[in-house]
Symmetry: C2
Subunit: 218 residues, 2 copies
């Protein structure tokens, strides 16, 4: 079984510790607040009340035995930095640390975190993208600066017509990656595939030209 150490049991730390156990991992969850440890104790393999800014505590954790170590202390930047440094010094193989600000993140990288994550900033970016996505277009992934992957509902003027017949790539630069139809997903659909009402089209292309395709009944 994969071994994980999660230090700091706030909203993020608790979600992570419980999820890693559910996925089959073995988790040691640590926090200096008794209430935080009691909340997860019956959902993880091991739990411990301890202050991870103390050298002796981190030394006794045996951090080198864990596949991944996560420092999920956020608001208390000093505790986050001290803990991350001690995890590095006592031989953790891979450290992921949560940062509250860009400056906090840069400090964590300097002292040896292998990966820094920003839950609030990333959610803000995703929400802002959703707000500005054009109507009718559900943003899925940025493949590159020019190529966005998104989903649209097949507009009425696509119904009962084949992909070949619609010439979507030539006319609108739209590459159809998959068709979502009810419970099924047809990946890399053949050119003669007929589109139906309710089909979700997973597309790689450009928003503006796709919006043209949505509007344009020939």
């Amino acid at each position: 079984r994969r071994q994980f150490l999660v230090v700091g049991l706030g909203r993020f730390g608790v979600s992570l510790a419980v999820l890693l156990e559910e996925m089959g991992g073995e988790v040691l969850a640590v926090d200096h607040r008794e209430a935080a440890v009691t909340e997860v104790a019956d959902q993880v393999t091991h739990s411990l009340i301890a202050d991870t800014t103390e050298e002796r505590v981190v030394k006794d954790l045996g951090v080198e035995h864990f596949d991944e170590v996560v420092c999920a202390i956020g608001t208390n930047v000093e505790a986050s930095l001290m803990t991350t440094l001690l995890l590095r010094e006592f031989g953790a193989r891979f450290i992921v640390s949560k940062a509250s600000t860009e400056l906090h993140g840069r400090l964590l990288e300097k002292i040896g975190a292998d990966r820094v994550i920003y839950p609030e900033r990333d959610m803000a970016a995703r929400l802002a993208r959703d707000f500005f996505a054009p109507p009718g277009i559900e943003e899925l992934l940025d493949l590159s600066v020019q190529h966005k992957m998104f989903q649209i509902k097949a507009p009425v003027h696509f119904h009962e017509r084949s992909l070949a017949d619609l010439h979507l790539r030539a006319r609108f630069g739209m590459n159809i990656i998959a068709i979502r139809r009810g419970e099924n997903t047809i990946v890399s659909p053949p050119a003669q595939e007929i589109l139906h009402d309710g089909d979700g089209l997973v597309v790689v292309g450009d928003y503006d030209r796709a919006q043209e395709a949505l509007k344009n009944p020939e």
Copy 2:
């Protein structure tokens, strides 16, 4: 310009308010802590120190004029619920509220939030998936239960060979959606495209069979 109201200027609220302005929106940022408002005042169009659990305050905000309203109050569940209810009662068009736990989220839905978001839980899920993704495979998106989209580096036994020659779909069920080569991305590559050292392959398929393809030098 799109109009946004962001209430609650913690890490998430601040990131969101600033980002929406950068993307061209007009933001009113509100918090009952003066320090929180001062931090963003010069990066948003409007800012206000006020307690949004007071009816008179929400009434005077004119919430019906905003395209989207976001309640980013997290730890203080009571303030989050009272604010969300008042936003709904005074005619907000679309309300997004942040939740700290599943129960908090269910309460927010009951009282009228149009969308509930969980930044910590979502980041925990993403990190747990990365930890359990097989080596050499970078998870990108779940297209459906059976179809994962992921990226692999073209292994050495793929170099200088064409996609047609490798028969990746027939042999390993791998649909090549795009090739990432340096600064360029080739979407829906033609069958005669030759793969080179350093190519990133964006694939839709199954992890186990893709791992077989990575190992198998014919």
